[in-house]
Symmetry: C2
Subunit: 315 residues, 2 copies
Amino acid sequence: MKQITLSEVASLLSQHDDFKILTHSYPDGDCLGCGYALAFALRKLGKRANVAVDGKLPSKFTYLVKNYEEQDFTPAYIVSVDVAAPALLGESVMEGVDHIDLCIDHHGTNSLDADCKYVDDTAAAAAEIIWEILELLHVEIDEDIAAGIYTGVSTDTGCFLYTNTTPQTHRIAAQVMPYCNWQEINNINFVIKTRAKLRMERLVYKTMEFHAAGQCAIIYTTLAMCEALKSGDDEMEGLANIPRRIEGVKIGITMREKPGGVFKISVRTNDGINAAEFCRQFGGGGHPAASGCSIEGDLGTVKKILVDAAEAYLQ
Amino acid sequence: MKQITLSEVASLLSQHDDFKILTHSYPDGDCLGCGYALAFALRKLGKRANVAVDGKLPSKFTYLVKNYEEQDFTPAYIVSVDVAAPALLGESVMEGVDHIDLCIDHHGTNSLDADCKYVDDTAAAAAEIIWEILELLHVEIDEDIAAGIYTGVSTDTGCFLYTNTTPQTHRIAAQVMPYCNWQEINNINFVIKTRAKLRMERLVYKTMEFHAAGQCAIIYTTLAMCEALKSGDDEMEGLANIPRRIEGVKIGITMREKPGGVFKISVRTNDGINAAEFCRQFGGGGHPAASGCSIEGDLGTVKKILVDAAEAYLQ
Ligand SMILES: [Mn+2]
Ligand SMILES: [Mn+2]
């Protein structure tokens, strides 16, 4: 495993051909945006390139592939984009892959095994790195490439809202916007809400409780709620951010019942409260402001455990 | 009234002294950001400058004035920022003002009476224009100026989400971010929600009805609801965007009961439906995707009028 520079990444890409680009499971806007932008760019350079996606492409991202068709060739050079860990590579993505030649990522914790690695954790999105590579390769930007890059930088920053956003994120957005329908991309990713999602949110708001003088807010979903609404992962997206957005809340907890008598817990914090430390009490972990853990038990028991822990932690 | 160029604006500002900067009533992030950024900049150039705000500065914007103190002088040059029409100038703002020397704005419909006018309706926020002026004046940027400019460009674009955003909006954000606590500004303006606001939203969601096969969504607030929640204008902010954000909705209508048996109606549209034309049926108007009108009557009657009109309009 060799850490390489950005210009070495560009050299490797221009020296090779017949690319397979690996994205992570539960694909998000960043890995997909990176994958397709890089594939379209490599094709423009006269190379062959395909993107491997685990399962079905989420329907909201179909705008990324309107000019994409799978090419028929045997992959000779394997590149991963935005994939932080081996466990995030789905089985179908790894079909016929015995090693990764090049790993491009922005997760500081990257633990992938690859011949060459370029990890820049100052990039808000892996798409920022891809954009810089395309500049080094003098690829002429077009709508497909721009849509991929804009999707990556905007979705990984919550539309330039999150604290990982940097001046560079904005500069890249400024450069790609003239080439793509970013208004429609924003609409799809940040504006429009399905009625199913709306119903789930309304139900979840009903479960909200405040504790520790309003400094802890807790919400939950149960299997029964999901079944009643016929809700899946799409409707769960973003729920974990709800409690911590309320004024005065320092620890926002979201409990999601999973089959087998276990709750998946998401913890989001404000004001420097350490979510990772909080979750470590229950064998979990993550980032300082966004962490998770799992706790076995029924709804009332698990909720009491969490509320008691939050009250103790906030003292 | 004379239309002038941006460099003429810069000349006028450098030639004059003792500025009073006028902002509009119900002050928003853009007019306040412009006002304070310009005042701090003029003070850096050795001039005196005050900002006139109608009523109390909304508490969420106090971060703009942490280094601001009113200066004591008789104004000699009056500049308005982000003020589109005479009716938007509050009485207290106009105290001692008999004319406006310079109007700086980004509303294409600007109808203010001023000796000199600079209106650029391609600017997403008036703060973009102020930034360009400060560059011409070679003002050295500091935290106060950066906070004002960032507040203006971010709030008028919904954090770089709305379709009025341009590459220039992003470029300006990239330039000012290193100088201010934009993370905290985003938190205040886009992330944190008061519990009062949350209660109002939950109540409003309960009123939501769908008509015209889901293409029309309508919500309302009544005086009784506002009284029960002790809600004011702060809690009403943003409600009008709720219905049009739901998948499939083309006409989103928000009805707000006002004293005297009248409802204030906000109409937001998707997919090219003309909200201004829709509202003109009721003596209102506005922008193609965001318009308003007033209708007298009780809740049921007004709602039926609007739903019938929407169903007819969508056919
Ligand atoms: Mn990413
Ligand atoms: Mn404005």
